[in-house]
């Protein structure tokens, strides 16, 4: 039973991280209809920024996380302004190639500064909680709590504030949003900023129980794509539910089936689902 609960905790942890990354991806897709292949690079740079703040500047974990979120939000805005904005009228294939260009650039840049080595990031939450044999590391608990708080805060922002409502409006209908006088540039920049900040926070949360290295974004971004396809591209609840599905599938699949192949589970699931339902599991209508 404890072993089972242990996997539930693992699934929740993974699902929280994947959900946060997928949220950023799905927000950008919902607004701009760009599959942002560079999102994984933002995640990776976020981890390195936190690492830089903590190790080189000696800043506290929370401050490092906030600083990294700010830097990546800015980076997201720069990408939007310099790359995606000029391409808004191009054929869709160009956005994708440009996003790949950003991804390659950021990865090579980080590798030039920090090298390709694996680094360990410390965290003040190193304790372990023991509930009657069920062992929960504090960092994992922090990840789960932080993810829930963030998702809740994002929902509040989107539903209850005017600025949030403009993002929703844009996602629902571009033309409609223009008609009521919503500034598309502002919304686009804001969406990229939120998406980048979410990626940076997710990376900083996950890095202490994983490692920091230039290729760390690859798997995460691909899984995030699987998630938003599962949940319907552009859907916020879909990203969270999809994140949990993949997180649990990996935790249980890795434990009960095979550790070596646990990374394939997500992609196998995607291939299976898209073979049966080419429009995704929860997709409604055209997006």
């Amino acid at each position: 039973m404890n072993l089972f609960l242990q996997q539930v905790i693992n699934g929740l942890t993974l699902g929280s991280i994947y959900g946060l990354v997928a949220l950023g991806l799905t927000l950008v897709y919902g607004i701009l209809h760009i599959p942002n292949f560079a999102h994984g690079a933002l995640y990776m740079v976020g981890a390195f920024m936190s690492y830089f703040f903590m190790v080189d500047l000696g800043v506290h974990y929370w401050l490092a996380m906030a600083g990294s979120a700010a830097v990546i939000a800015l980076l997201g805005i720069v990408c939007e302004r310099l790359v995606f904005h000029p391409l808004r009228h191009s054929p869709p294939i160009h956005d994708k190639i440009a996003a790949i260009g950003i991804l390659l650039f950021l990865e090579a840049l980080v590798q030039m500064f920090w090298g390709a080595d694996f680094r360990r990031m410390s965290s003040p939450f190193t304790g372990i909680m023991n509930f009657d044999g069920l062992i929960i590391p504090e960092q994992r608990l922090l990840i789960i709590v932080a993810a829930f708080v963030l998702v809740f805060a994002l929902q509040m922002f989107l539903r209850k504030t005017m600025t949030g409502a403009t993002i929703i409006a844009m996602a629902q209908s571009r033309e409609g949003a223009f008609l009521v006088g919503i500034d598309a540039n502002r919304v686009a920049m804001m969406t990229f900023a939120i998406s980048g900040a979410l990626a940076a926070v997710a990376a900083t949360l996950y890095a202490p129980i994983n490692l920091v290295y230039p290729a760390m974004g690859h798997l995460v971004i691909m899984k995030a794509f699987v998630i938003i396809i599962l949940g319907g591209m552009g859907s916020i609840p879909g990203a969270i539910v999809g994140g949990m599905i993949i997180g649990f599938a990996e935790a249980f699949g890795g434990f009960y089936i095979s550790t070596a192949y646990k990374d394939i589970i997500a992609f196998g699931l995607l291939v299976l689902i898209l073979s049966i339902r080419p429009q995704g599991l929860f997709a409604k209508g055209a997006h």
Partner: protein, 344 residues
């Protein structure tokens, strides 16, 4: 005048000159290494031509292309090193395997459109990489495959030396380009372009989308398999890194720099960039610092690459030279440019 000059560059004469240059290159090269680099550039160019069929002509961004390259290389490698086949039967098998796998991946993935297709193939590429890396009983995992058979020659020619192998690759490249040229002028090639320009319109013209897209996909994976098999025969040691997504991104860069959807573009882009990265050795590891922004700048400012931009420029020249002349003539020029583009 200028237009004619430009058209001449794309004429059989210019192509013949390129071919002659390629044939005499081993005699001009100062050492064997340069011949080797050129041969490897040609191998990549073959793969890029494959990518050009599905992405350039048919408009579907296939991010699993590097994976099929690796499948071609591994099929040849495993059949010769482990199963004891000799080179040429394994070579043919590599083509068959990539074509068959391409067919099955194609019928599943091509039901998806645009973004979904790109993301799906990205995942397929990654599955291929993971399988090669983890399935140790079959692929030897991270250790890679050693002792791949040499491409033995027929009669007098021996392909195990660098220079004869160079000619072997060149022959395949010439065939690949010739086939591509035939394809682009055929009804099939025009069907692919129609699908790229608008699949709903193409469908309303009575084009069977699925059948044509799958055909384009199988052709492209076969090209990738051909390149992969040649690569395995050339380096004779392969590892899971051949399936790394970076190779797919490299190929997209070559294709974009040269000119997506053109005939000479993939060759110019691949050979040009391979030589630039070779001459700037320090770039090898950090080449993406330049390639990344280059990709972005290209899609923003020169989405049609070297060949495409050149053709557009020629087209503009031709139109500005004769604006006062009758419209009919400019129409003739337009069609001529189109034809030149198709032949480019």
């Amino acid at each position: 005048m200028l237009f004619k000059l430009g058209a001449m560059l794309m004429t059989p004469g210019a192509k013949l000159a390129l071919l002659v240059f390629a044939i005499v290159f081993p005699f001009l090269a100062s050492n064997e290494y340069q011949v080797y680099v050129m041969a490897s550039a040609f191998v990549w160019a073959i793969a890029v031509y494959g990518l050009n069929i599905i992405t350039g002509f048919c408009g579907q961004l296939n991010l699993a292309h590097g994976g099929f390259f690796a499948i071609g290389a591994y099929t040849l490698g495993l059949l010769t090193a482990d199963a004891g086949w000799s080179f040429w039967p394994a070579f043919v098998a590599a083509l068959v395997v990539t074509a068959v796998l391409g067919f099955f991946v194609g019928i599943v993935s091509l039901r998806l459109k645009e973004h979904y297709f790109a993301i799906f193939t990205l995942c397929v590429g990654f599955i291929i990489y993971l399988l090669i890396d983890k399935w140790e009983e079959l692929t030897h995992g991270p250790i890679g495959v050693r002792d791949i058979a040499e491409p033995y020659g027929f009669g007098l020619v021996d392909f195990t030396e660098t220079t004869p192998f160079y000619y072997l690759v060149l022959a395949f490249l010439v065939f690949a380009i010739w086939f591509m040229g035939r394809l682009s002028r055929s009804l099939l090639g025009r069907t692919f372009i129609a699908i790229r320009n608008g699949d709903e319109l193409a469908q309303s013209l009575g084009i069977n989308l699925m059948r044509n897209k799958v055909l384009a996909f199988v052709l492209s994976t076969t090209y990738a398999g051909l390149a992969g098999a040649l690569y395995a025969g050339m380096v004779r040691f392969i590892g899971p890194e051949e399936a790394n997504i970076v190779h797919t991104f490299d190929m997209i860069t070559y294709l974009l720099v040269g000119g997506i959807g053109t005939i000479t573009g993939p060759l110019l882009g691949t050979v040009g960039i391979v030589w630039i990265t070779q001459s700037l050795q320090f770039l090898e590891e950090y080449r993406m610092i330049i390639f990344g922004p280059l990709l972005v700048l290209l899609v923003i400012f020169f989405p049609r690459g070297i060949t495409g931009s050149f053709l557009t420029w020629m087209h503009r020249k031709a139109q500005s030279v004769a604006p006062e002349k009758k419209r009919t003539e400019s129409k003739v020029t337009t069609t001529r440019t189109r034809e030149a583009e198709n032949n480019a």
